[in-house]
């Protein structure tokens, strides 16, 4: 806006109003502003609850038997990989929730994208990158259709994407069985030797460094001298990269402002000219693409596609977002909190495994964590608004 550029910005902020109302304060201080301690300010951050929860979870599992295995390099990589796979879709889900919408079709999209890669590569003979490109094209289309229906009909996205959940899962199973006679597509990578593309999704970073650490005897190695952990898995790299990107977009760009506004007050945002429909559709597309990225990583790791992949991932993504301090009602949240949420999720899942607790209890634990997260979130939101009571 030209109007913005034209205004001169004085270095001293307080200005005498035309009515002789002189500001009483010097720049930076204000006697009306109650001093808030650093701790309080930090606690007001939306990711504070998730960070606290993560620290508590780490301590709890450190005190349980099996902690040495869980927190070993190998154990850590395992739960970090779990967190990464969830985090990739949870970050996208979080942005969408902040913009005021849900996508329940994420899990089905993971399965469907895997099937697309499997069928195009194995039965159409496309190169690996071609199959992956097809999967992303399908994802963009799916996200666009989801978003368009939600925006045009103003139906709750919960219902619209619940329909997509069933349609995509049904298509995955139906098409795969029709083409292959089974519900799995194995040996996808065998006929398509494309190590560069595959490595982008299932390779490792810093392999040389990890190998060197192995030769120094700092990390555990197999008998042949290759370390158990050969490097940082690409899934973790993707996860951290996308979290950083999403965090940047959300807090540092105008698009972030639009996302918050779209979820905060749709009409107000529309009235000041925020393209709320485009914001929503773009985020539906991003969510579907994040699901496809996860599907690609899983296909590259397993070498096969399975129509049941991604089952219930939509809920896990929403849970990680909520644990991370994202308000289900929209308009508030951070992706860094979602990073902590995904970490808690991965840690608990692996922690229960390593400590020998019956894994049946995982879901009980999960339920309790969700409930606590929602209570903490609600409290933090009221704090952010500077209120003690409810609104």
């Amino acid at each position: 806006m030209a109007a913005v550029e034209d205004k001169a910005i004085p270095s001293e902020v307080p200005v005498k109003g035309r009515f002789g109302m002189t500001s009483k304060r010097a720049a930076g201080t204000d006697e009306r502003l109650a001093s808030t301690g650093r701790l309080t300010q930090w606690l007001r951050r939306p990711e504070a609850g998730a960070a606290g929860g993560l620290i508590a979870t780490i301590i709890i599992f450190a005190l349980l038997p099996g902690a040495s295995n869980l927190y070993s390099l190998q154990g850590s990589m395992t739960f970090l990989t779990l967190a990464a796979e969830l985090g990739i879709i949870a970050t996208a889900a979080a942005l969408l929730i902040i913009a005021g919408e849900f996508d329940l079709s994420v899990g089905s999209m993971v399965g469907f994208a895997g099937v697309v890669i499997g069928l195009t590569v194995k039965y159409w003979g496309l190169p690996l990158w071609g199959g992956i490109a097809c999967a992303f094209a399908v994802a963009i289309l799916t996200g666009y259709v989801n978003g368009l229906i939600v925006v045009k009909t103003r139906l709750p996205s919960f219902i619209v994407t619940l329909a997509s959940l069933y349609i995509l899962r049904g298509l995955s199973i139906g098409i795969t069985r029709a083409v292959t006679g089974r519900t799995q597509i194995p040996y996808i990578l065998d006929g398509a030797p494309d190590p560069a593309t595959a490595g982008l999704f299932n390779g490792h970073l810093f392999t040389g460094f990890f190998h060197w650490m192995g030769t120094q005897g700092w990390i555990a190695t197999r008998t042949d001298g290759i370390p158990f952990v050969v490097g940082i898995p690409m899934s973790i790299v993707w996860w951290l990269g996308l979290t950083a990107l999403a965090g940047y977009v959300l807090t540092q760009t105008k698009y972030g402002n639009w996302i918050f506004a779209t979820g905060g007050d749709l009409n107000a945002a529309r009235n000041v000219g925020v393209p709320v429909d485009r914001v929503k559709i773009a985020l539906f597309i991003y969510t579907a693409c994040a699901a496809t990225l996860l599907a690609t990583i899983q296909v590259m790791e397993a070498g096969s596609a399975d129509t049941t992949r991604g089952l219930l991932k939509e809920f896990e993504a929403i849970i990680a977002a909520v644990i991370g301090g994202v308000l289900l009602t929209g308009g508030y949240g951070t992706v860094y909190g979602v990073l902590f949420g995904a970490l808690i999720f991965g840690l608990v899942q692996m922690g229960i495994f390593y400590t020998g607790i019956d894994t049946d209890w995982f879901k009980v634990f999960l339920g309790i964590v969700i409930l606590m997260a929602v209570l903490v979130n609600n409290y933090i939101r009221l704090k952010a608004l500077g209120r003690g009571g409810g609104k």
Binding site: G17, T253, D265, V272
Partner: protein, 276 residues
């Protein structure tokens, strides 16, 4: 008070505007001229058509009939953003503020200053904070902390943010929808001061109210609405406060109400508490 001469072009003008909702005639044949540097009060009781008129002025509704002119050029608003781009800014009763977002983020929503034109360029928050604070100071408000959530502000403060935003982004016509109705005496006085401030900057201010005690002191011109019709536009010198009240409420209606109340009082007049 400068009552603009007729040679000055109106900042905004409605000619013969009617709005129908099905069979309901919400507005009939409204003519209004608003001049720069003038506070034009739109007064009327509930149901007089004030809200509909604001929505026409601000681009939310399109008139069923009639023409809108801004700076002498005929316009057709497709959205509130269209109106804003032509310098017609509206502060709605619900203010269009997002309470969980900061003052600065609200202030610049939809018009964020960025460091470059690249698609993911940074939203320049330091600059935005400084500008927001300065724009508020310009109309005489001292913001404590531009990064605090709008939800933590009082009603009058929120109103002032909305007004400062409209003024800053080059509004030529500022439409205020019942800006004082939800406020206490002190805060209402603050908002009335902003209205005068905006007028002194040469803006045309359209001040919608049903409270004559707020409108009369700051207003230059009064347009009285009743049942969707314009009951006349008066300069301040032409009309007294009591006359405004009388026309607003439909004159005779009020006398009937007064007679009725007098009758009621007479019935209970013997009670000791009623005696002076």
């Amino acid at each position: 008070m400068t009552n603009p001469a007729q040679t000055i072009q109106p900042a905004m003008e409605l000619r013969g505007v009617s709005v129908n909702f099905g069979s309901v005639r919400a507005l009939q044949d409204i003519d209004i001229k608003v001049y720069p540097g003038e506070v034009h009060c739109l007064l009327g009781d509930n149901g007089a058509g004030k809200s509909t008129l604001i929505k026409v002025l601000s681009g939310v509704h399109r008139p069923s009939k009639g023409e809108i002119f801004v700076d002498g050029r005929q316009v057709a608003f497709r959205s509130p953003r269209d109106a804003q781009d032509l310098g017609v800014a509206t502060v709605f009763q619900d203010l269009g503020m997002i309470s969980l977002m900061s003052i600065t983020r609200n202030f610049f929503l939809g018009r964020e200053p960025t460091r470059s034109r690249l698609p993911f360029s940074r939203f320049d928050k330091e600059r935005a904070n400084t500008i927001a604070r300065q724009a508020m100071a310009d109309i005489g408000i001292d913001v404590r902390d531009p990064t605090q959530a709008v939800g933590t502000l009082s009603g009058g403060e929120r109103q002032s943010v909305a007004i400062a935003r409209a003024v800053h982004f080059g509004a030529k016509v500022l439409i205020l929808d019942e800006p004082t109705s939800a406020l206490g005496v002190h805060q209402a006085a603050m908002v009335l001061k902003f209205i005068i401030e905006a007028r002194m900057r040469g803006l045309a201010v359209i001040f919608i109210s049903h409270n004559i005690h707020h409108a009369y002191p700051v207003g230059d011109t009064f347009t009285l609405l009743n049942r969707g019709r314009n009951r006349g536009t008066y300069a301040k010198s032409e009309i007294s406060r009591d006359e405004v009240i009388s026309i607003m409420s439909g004159g005779e209606d009020l006398k009937a109400v007064e007679a009725e109340i007098a009758g009621l009082l007479a019935q209970i007049g013997n009670r000791p508490s009623a005696a002076p």
